[in-house]
């Protein structure tokens, strides 16, 4: 069965300034990032949709001890998109040593950054980023 939207196409979309996802033709739920079945009902009739790219921070952490290939400190967060799905990304444009306690609930715009290939990765990667608005 063909993939309605692969992870590579999802990232090509981000690089072109578009947040792509899938809208279920059965239950209407948005699946972002994409997968082969609807994240809610498992249905396979999915249509590529453009999301508005806006959401709000639901939770976050400041990573102080980083994996090989990353330089701490940085913020990782889960944001709830306006259309419902939750996405993981890095919160950018903030000094992590400032008080970060008020981050939950802040509105963000989804962007991206390209990460060079890591050891044990299948080539270049793309991380979602969140810009505070």
């Amino acid at each position: 069965m063909d993939y309605p939207l692969t992870h590579r196409q999802f990232y090509e979309g981000l690089k072109a300034g578009e947040l792509l996802g899938l809208k279920c033709q059965s239950c209407g739920t948005y699946t972002v990032p994409p997968k082969i079945t609807c994240a809610e009902c498992g249905h396979t009739e999915l249509e590529i949709a453009r999301l508005n790219g806006m959401g709000k921070i639901r939770t976050f952490t400041v990573i102080r001890v980083a994996p090989e290939g990353f330089n701490a400190p940085y913020i990782v967060a889960l944001a709830e998109l306006d259309e419902g799905p939750w996405l993981m990304g890095n919160v950018e444009g903030l000094d992590v040593d400032d008080n970060v306690d008020g981050l939950i609930g802040r509105k963000v715009r989804v962007d991206h950054k390209v990460i060079p290939p890591l050891n044990y990765s299948a080539g270049e990667g793309v991380a979602v980023t969140f810009q505070l608005v």
Binding site: A39, T61, P67, E68, L78, E80, A127
Partner: protein, 388 residues
């Protein structure tokens, strides 16, 4: 389904070891086999949890090497099981199913890990390989980071100040170190103070160093046998009354990560099979890889209302001597967390507790125990109920 029991258990000292993975496992397994009054040639299958042998020792496919080391016959299938930190829980559930089905009578299950063979940056990277490599790994998320996000969301959802939650989390660490101090196999056999936890370096906000379990080398093993023959193996059988396993997708797909749905599913299956309820459980070994992880696990398994697990710790309900002792072994926090072996180490503790062999850390009158092992980004959870 046939009734299934545990005949014997074995476990190495947890901590740093210069033994190889094969040697660690063989030591634990031989203890389990010997204490089951069987010969190695009577074992019919091996399920072995091992997560990162590839990175630790350059060793893939460790299971048949362990089988050979032990002298198991060549017709014994030996299978490595990988479910991240839940690997040995998965291995025990597999052993249970094969024996319950009647296919085998005696199966060896367990796990091994040599996490300290890696330096911290490589260990942090490889542990994070359980995150979604397409959509989440490139953010640099770490395993402590996952539970840092659980803690922040938990405080926000239940209207707790972060300070209050952090103090409750610190109490989990203090309690588990107090338990671990009474466990001669624990990595840390030393009590700590609240101040030690709250003044330790930040790892992944709001988790500090003493909110986190250590990297650990170690192994544990159990002999699982049909209840039909258990009388020949031991006069102190411990029965596996119920098992359950659940699966979640990436962290983003799970949304509210204070409620780990794979755990609620696994615990539900185990309770249903055993015909028991949370109030029937006398002691628990659960997955306290981080202090907040113990709080959410104690709620997800049904012991406390959601949002009140921290309060129960504060009131001493989960200490030895309390209403429901949690992690009398010291848990992952103090006993240590050799990730591929942890589920089997939990089984080891519960079997010893139900047999009344735990000395200073004995939970008096314990007859039913429950274990809970979690792997990956809250992705694999195995819950098992044991009874005498």
């Amino acid at each position: 389904m046939r009734k299934v029991a545990i005949a014997g258990v074995g476990m190495t000292k947890f901590g740093r070891s210069d033994k190889s993975g094969v040697e660690l496992f063989a030591g634990a397994a031989m203890e389990a086999i010997t204490s089951s009054n069987i010969k190695t040639r009577e074992v019919q299958a091996l399920f072995l949890g091992n997560v990162l042998g590839d990175f630790e020792e350059g060793q893939l496919n460790i299971a048949p090497l362990c089988a050979n080391e032990l002298g198991l016959p060549v017709d014994v299938p030996a299978t490595r099981v990988e479910g991240a930190c839940a690997s040995a829980g998965v291995a025990i559930r597999e052993a249970f199913i094969w024996v319950a089905s009647g296919y085998y009578d005696i199966v060896l299950a367990g796990g091994v890990e040599r996490a300290t063979a890696m330096d911290t940056p490589l260990a942090t990277r490889t542990f994070a390989m359980s995150s979604e490599s397409r959509y989440e790994v490139f953010t640099g998320v770490t395993f402590p980071g996952v539970f840092g996000m659980v803690a922040r969301l938990y405080a926000d959802k239940y209207g707790l100040s972060l300070q209050t939650l952090k103090e409750q989390m610190a109490m989990v660490a203090v309690k588990n170190h107090k338990h671990g101090a009474k466990n001669p196999l624990a990595q840390f056999q030393k009590e700590i103070s609240l101040e030690t936890v709250l003044k330790s370096p930040m790892v992944a906000d709001p988790l500090q160093l003493f909110d986190c379990c250590p990297f650990t080398d170690g192994a544990a093993a159990i002999v699982v046998a049909s209840a039909d023959i258990i009388g020949k193996l031991t006069d102190k059988p411990v029965y596996i009354l119920g098992v359950g396993q659940g699966s979640n997708g990436s962290l983003g797909r799970q949304k509210d990560i204070t409620r780990i749905k794979a755990r609620e599913a696994a615990a539900g299956q185990a309770y249903k099979m055993a015909g028991l309820r949370p109030s029937d459980i006398d002691l628990v070994e659960l997955h306290d890889c981080f202090t907040i992880a113990e709080i959410v696990a104690s709620e997800g398994m049904g012991f406390f209302e959601f949002g009140t697990g921290g309060k129960a710790v504060e009131k001493g309900e989960t200490a030895i001597g309390g209403r429901l002792p949690i992690n009398p072994s010291g848990g992952l926090k103090a006993k240590g967390h050799p990730i591929g072996a942890t589920g089997a180490a939990q089984a080891y503790e519960i079997v010893k507790q139900l047999r009344g062999e735990c000395g200073e850390r004995q939970v008096d009158g314990a007859r039913i125990g429950m274990s809970d092992t979690l792997g990956g980004d809250l992705a694999t959870v195995v819950d098992i109920i044991y009874g005498v």
